[in-house]
Amino acid sequence: MAADSLAPTVAAALPQARERAARFLAARHRLRPIEALPWLIALAAFFIFPDRMMLGSQALIMILFALSLDLILGFAGIVTLGHAAFFGIGAYTAGLLITRLQWTEPITGLLAAAACAAVAGVLSGWILLRYRGLALLVLTLSTTIMLQEIGNLVPDFTGGYDGIPGVVPAPLLGRFEYDLYGHTYYLYALVVLFLLFFLARRIVYSPFGRALAGIRENVARMHALGSPVHWRLVTAYAIAAAIAGIAGALFAQTNGFVTLGVFDFERSAGVLMMLILGGTGWLYGAFIGAVLYMVLENRLSAVSPEFWQFGLGFVLVAVVLLVRRPRWDWVKLWRRVVART
């Protein structure tokens, strides 16, 4: 009875809803004016704080690293405690190329780092992504520590725990020298981040990106639909690994050294926290989170290192218990912006 009386209303509303949905889908990936904001801020920072550009380039590198994690955590729903593995592989590839093989050209160094990290991503992803839950957490954590131990086993090659000093790349594109204030490094990192961000953006709005979201939301259904779930996950993992590898390579090139500390659990946990602070699954979480994290670190460490650690722990607990329950507000806000335009 009630269904009968409702039916005409539903039927009338249907074309409208359909059209709205179609419009939403067609416009979802379009660039919005507000998306220029992070890049304008990054450029403005270059002119406002010219003497803080070393810190600035570290922030850009962390944004890139967090962005790579967002691809697998936010979009594919893979929870890993070992993302630092790929950052470390990238850093060591770049460092070893320069110091052991005298291959000092920086951009091909990045590409080599991306390739090595991607290969590691395919291999480890192919094996590890069959697992979920506790097993996956423990496996990702263990393999990262194993890499660190391997690095320590061949100190002649990797420098052991002392690491590799003197990672000094040749001038960028053969003409831009690196200055003391890190201006060149900052612009270099900014351009790399810009290119990779749009690559990531392209990926998440592609059918492949949608398939990842499907896997995140309902694996069983994606299997039932015939989606090659495992290969989709491995591909996403390898792409994220390559981007993390590039972040690691930039880290090695701009800091001038690499140590086995790049594989620390704290680094895997740190990038996870950055992403959580900024919100997962909307790409801009990496920007907000990494900057917020570094500002907090900067301010609270000035009081004392314990104060920073305690504050970070407190923020995490509060974020999980108070904010993540109803979800981040700015993610919701963003969705509304996307839906409206």
Binding site: L134, A135, V138, E266, M273, L316, V317, V319, V320
Partner: protein, 287 residues
């Protein structure tokens, strides 16, 4: 040769008992609620520091200090469970991981603030130092002490798990959470009890660890990895799985460090990863 083998076995078992004592609570709570509690290492460490304070500042004898630490941390953990953990049952694994990492950081920071980053030691009573002669050769008394405590706990926990109604309920709830609930078992209450007991045991383990490894604030994260390995390899929620996993990993790790000092740290991970690749739910786990 035989002597080395005996040393490896002995030290390995002592290490395994430490791993078992700390990990068993983590395993049961993980099995009951699927709760990924990364703050377990922090509870163990807090227990260790309580033992340090009790023995150094108040002159409490070491064995009594262990008991006090276990009871105190067990009691405090109930408070945490009610305020922080209760809201996250059934939440995503990511939320549980994040919240407990956050809690761990807070504990580490608080302990670094009060105790400083340098390793802490405790003064052992005379009867726990030196060596003890078991007829064919002598062993460090303190490690014998750990093995005895471990063996007693295995017996007590075996009785509790297999012969009491509480243990039967826990086993039922680990096997099938929803079914257990539908026949009237209060799984949340079981979780609270085992959480408090497990945290108390972790604190005891933390106290025992001081003399073995020295205690620094990095203990909470450094050893957490090993506790997680034990739980994952054993299969969460299983007593025997945790014991076997602790023995396998403890002995492998010790053997690795004895025989190949350089590659020492590598073995425990290689063994654990190999086992997990073959049996993702752990040796005794289901599914």
């Amino acid at each position: 040769m035989a002597n080395t083998a005996i040393s490896i076995l002995f030290d390995g078992v002592a290490y395994a008992m430490f791993l078992f004592i700390v990990s068993v609570g983590l395993s049961v709570t993980m099995g009951l609620m699927g709760f990924v509690n990364l703050a377990h290492g922090a509870f163990a460490m807090a227990g260790g520091y309580l033992v340090v304070t009790a023995t150094q500042s108040f002159g409490v004898p070491f064995p009594l200090a262990l008991v006090i630490a276990a009871v105190a941390i067990g009691a405090v953990s109930i408070l945490f469970e009610r305020t922080l953990y209760a809201g996250l049952y059934g939440a995503s694994e990511l939320d549980q991981v994040l919240m407990t990492i956050g809690l761990t950081f807070m504990v580490i920071a608080a302990i670094t603030y009060f105790y400083g980053p340098l390793p802490e030691h405790v003064r052992m009573p005379d009867y726990l130092t030196g060596e003890i002669n078991l007829g064919f050769r002598s062993f460090p008394t303190y490690r014998v002490f750990i093995i005895v405590i471990g063996a007693v706990l295995v017996a007590v926990l075996w009785y509790g798990f297999e012969r009491t109604s509480l243990g039967a309920k826990i086993r039922a709830a680990v096997d099938n959470h929803r079914m257990a609930q539908s026949i009237g078992i209060d799984v949340a209450r079981l979780f609270r009890i085992s959480f408090a007991l497990g945290s108390g045991l972790a604190a005891l383990g933390g106290g025992l660890a001081i003399q073995l490894f020295g205690l620094t604030p990095s203990f909470a994260i450094l050893y957490l990895v090993f506790f997680l390995l034990v739980v994952a390899v054993g299969g969460s929620g299983t007593l025997w799985g945790t014991l076997i996993a602790a023995l396998v990993l403890g002995i492998c790790d010790t053997a690795g460090k004895y025989l190949y000092a350089d590659a020492g740290g590598f073995f425990i991970y290689a063994v654990a990863v190999a086992i997990l690749l073959i049996k993702p739910a752990g040796l005794y786990g289901r599914g």
